[in-house]
């Protein structure tokens, strides 16, 4: 396999991930409840994590991998915080 085919396949993979992110974005905009939006945003960020990983392969630069590490930590905190305020609103 030549490097050109390898690189082209990686570009096609990134485009596929972008289309998937668009599908998830539909649910993020449409979502009837706030839990739908929270789930959709969770999935969207995970798709972005996949995109950054493929980008790290394309550029052969493993430092982009630290971005993935930090991003996976931050998303979790955001989701937990959102659900905390959802439950807090219910008590009042």
């Amino acid at each position: 396999m030549t490097d050109a085919i390898y690189d082209t396949t990686l570009v096609i993979a990134m485009v596929a991930l972008m289309l998937i992110a668009g599908l998830v974005m539909v649910r993020l905009v449409m979502g009837p409840s706030i839990a739908d939006r929270a789930t959709a945003f969770d999935v969207f960020t995970t798709v972005v994590i996949g995109m950054i990983s493929v980008f790290a392969i394309r550029t052969s630069n493993y430092r982009y991998f630290d971005v993935v590490l930090v991003m996976s930590f931050v998303v979790f905190l955001g989701t937990i915080g959102l659900s905390y305020y959802m439950r807090k609103n219910k008590d009042e």
Binding site: M1, Y6, T9, L10, A13, A16, L17, I20, L23, V24, V26, R27, S33, I34, A35, D36, A38, T39, A40, D42, V43, T46, V47, I49, G50, S53, V54, A56, I57, S60, Y62, F65, D66, V68, L69, S72, F73, V75, F76, T79, I80, L82, S83, M86, R87, N89, K90
Partner: protein, 125 residues
């Protein structure tokens, strides 16, 4: 050269899983089914993509980081789905019409005296 084939195969398996999850988040009728369909498939897909990254770089540091990310993603996606599901239930997000058993409602009903008339707020639409 073999590592490139393994990388591409792992990445495309991962993208297939994430695509199935994206179809699930569009097609499923309910918040709870959406969450159940999505979180596992996405964790599996990103895990496959990270396996592909490890085969590309062939480096110990990348292997350790990828392991940390995969383990943390599996934990965090499960926990956040659980917490959001509980918050959605307490927020009285409606269940789908096809729900035939609501075990949380049954468990809450056992602690209180039996109700003859269903309260309008707790009625699932």
């Amino acid at each position: 050269m073999t590592a490139q084939y393994i990388t591409l195969i792992c990445i495309w398996i991962g993208i297939t899983f994430i695509g199935i999850a994206a179809i699930g988040i569009i097609r499923m009728p309910d918040v709870y089914t959406r969450m159940s369909a999505v979180t596992k498939a996405v964790a599996l897909g990103v895990g496959f993509i990270l396996i592909g990254v490890v085969f590309h770089f062939n480096d110990t540091t990348v292997l350790i980081k990828a392991t940390v990310i995969v383990v943390f993603l599996i934990f965090s996606l499960s926990v956040s789905a659980h917490v959001i599901g509980l918050a959605a239930y307490e927020d009285r997000t409606p269940l789908t019409d096809k729900t035939f058993r609501d075990e949380l409602k049954e468990a809450e009903g056992k602690q209180e005296p039996p109700r003859t008339v269903e309260h309008p707020d707790t009625k699932s639409v």
